[in-house]
């Protein structure tokens, strides 16, 4: 079950703490800010994404790859031409990841691929709420899902709460899908990142399921945003 808390950081413009059954991240968005020289773009706003790992110094190459993926999607969603020569800063800190503990990778090479995908999936959903909270102009909404395909099943990884079970799944392939949501319906694919062994039937099946999950998840997010708006104007009520 995804648990979302908005406006957790009063120092920053928008923030969100998201915990799924097996991971926890906190993200914050601020903008439009005065940029540093290297971020100054003449016609649109620059987007800086920084993701910090759950332990150790970061961002390491693992996080840099995640940052790039997040930044490219945000580039498509934020109305960047509204804030020329400004900076939109997105910060994320991973607090809990299912593969934190010593030896939890269990020598399974798929777990090494799965671990950043779980973190990134949480970062996506959390940063959407943060963006809404910071009142930065968005073109549309988006929801991210992470699906794993085993021999006979399709698994929504965000809902697996048993860590030992998660570590021992024998995934054939992993799919990270970010879908744009317009008028309450999933429309365009913003990001599709698939790893492993799969064919076109698998992919169609995954996309079908991702649409269903997105639709359900978006209702949840909508309710939270509704709550947020009434909290924002609480002094008026």
């Amino acid at each position: 079950m995804t648990n979302l808390k908005y406006s957790v950081l009063p120092n920053l413009d928008g923030s969100c703490e998201l915990s799924t059954s097996n991971s926890k991240v906190i993200t914050a968005v601020s903008g439009p800010l005065e940029p540093k020289q290297r971020h100054r773009l003449p016609l649109q706003s620059a987007i800086e994404v920084v993701i910090k790992p759950s332990f150790g110094m970061g961002p390491t190459p693992r996080e840099v790859l995640m940052q790039d993926k997040l930044a490219t999607v945000l580039q498509a969603v934020i109305v960047t031409e509204l804030y020329p020569r400004k900076l939109v800063q997105v910060n994320a800190q991973i607090l809990e990841s299912p593969f934190d503990e010593f030896g939890s990778m269990m020598g399974n090479s798929f777990n090494e691929i799965l671990s950043p995908m779980i973190d990134l999936n949480s970062c996506f959903n959390s940063s959407f709420i943060s963006l809404c909270d910071s009142a930065i102009a968005l073109k549309s909404s988006f929801v991210s899902t992470l699906l794993g395909v085993t021999e006979d099943k399709l698994i929504n990884i965000a809902e697996v709460s048993d860590l030992d079970l998660l570590r021992s799944f024998n995934f054939k392939s992993l799919h990270h899908i970010v879908l744009e949501v317009e008028e309450n319906k999933p429309t365009n694919v913003l990001l599709l990142d698939s790893q492993g062994d799969f064919n076109d039937d698998d992919l169609v099946n995954v996309l079908d399921n991702a649409q269903k999950i997105t639709q359900k998840e978006f209702q949840n997010i909508r309710n939270i945003l509704k709550d947020k708006v009434s909290q924002d104007f609480i002094w008026k009520a």
Partner: protein, 254 residues
């Protein structure tokens, strides 16, 4: 209308606006609505909501206005807004000011003061607060502030916010919608009048950029007003009277 009833009209980026659904003509687009300029002739261009909030349609002077009500913390300069700016630097021709921490700076030229001459330049120090108005907003230049009514050349209450002798001042930062409501809607949202009715005497200046400047005769009164204003931002309307009473009792014991 109360907001909680209204949240069924919640608009999220990507939704279809009611006006677009019903093919209404909108003359003025307010905050939170964006017209894409992919097509330079502006026909068949899409308008879409960019923020999470509540749709709002009004008609003024036969013009239909649409906007989305939302609350935020960071101010983006708009022409004609009353703001409280902080001086951070000064140059030969202008002061550099900020309206929000870490936002882009804005300029306050010496020429935009009443009776400005080459010799007669205002002497403000860094960190001083100035009540002024946004004169020009240009997407390619820093926004320009003015400290007078440029039509009449009068001071009109703009200028340095400083503590008079024996007065204590404070500055409070709050959300933008709260400041707008306090400044423009005293009838519908009479928080300040309620405070005056409780025998608090104070002076305030409210900037649309989320700053409220408070000045009273004693330190504890200033703290009291500061506390009331910041507490009421996080409480429901019907609790405000209680908060005012409690805070006065806490800080100013008779």
């Amino acid at each position: 209308m109360s907001v909680s009833e209204n949240t069924k009209n919640l608009i999220v980026p990507g939704d279809l606006l009611t006006c677009a659904k019903e093919n209404q003509t909108i003359d003025i687009l307010g905050q939170g609505i964006y017209l894409s300029f992919e097509n330079h002739l502006y026909n068949s261009n899409k308008i879409y909501p960019t923020n999470v909030g509540i749709e709002n349609y009004t008609t003024k002077n036969n013009k239909n206005i649409a906007n989305i009500d939302y609350n935020s913390k960071r101010y983006i300069p708009q022409q004609g807004d009353y703001v409280i700016a902080t001086v951070t630097n000064n140059y030969a021709t202008h002061f550099v000011c900020t309206l929000n921490n870490f936002s882009s700076t804005v300029n306050l030229p010496y020429a935009n003061f009443p009776q400005a001459t080459k010799k007669n330049r205002p002497k403000y120090e860094n960190g001083d607060l100035v009540y002024c108005r946004v004169k020009v907003v240009d997407s390619d230049l820093p926004a320009e502030l003015e400290c007078m009514d440029s039509e009449t050349g009068n001071k009109e209450g703009f200028g340095l916010l400083e503590a008079e002798k024996g007065k204590h001042t404070a500055i409070l930062n709050c959300s933008l919608a709260y400041c707008r409501e306090l400044l423009f809607n005293d009838k519908g949202f009479p928080l300040l009048s309620d405070m005056v009715k409780k025998n608090l005497s104070f002076e305030v200046a409210i900037g649309i950029n989320g700053s409220i400047w408070i000045s009273t005769g004693s330190l504890l009164e200033t703290l009291c007003v500061y506390k009331i204003l910041s507490k009421c931002e996080k409480a429901e309307r019907n609790l405000h009277a209680q908060i005012i009473e409690d805070t006065i009792k806490e800080y100013i014991k008779e």
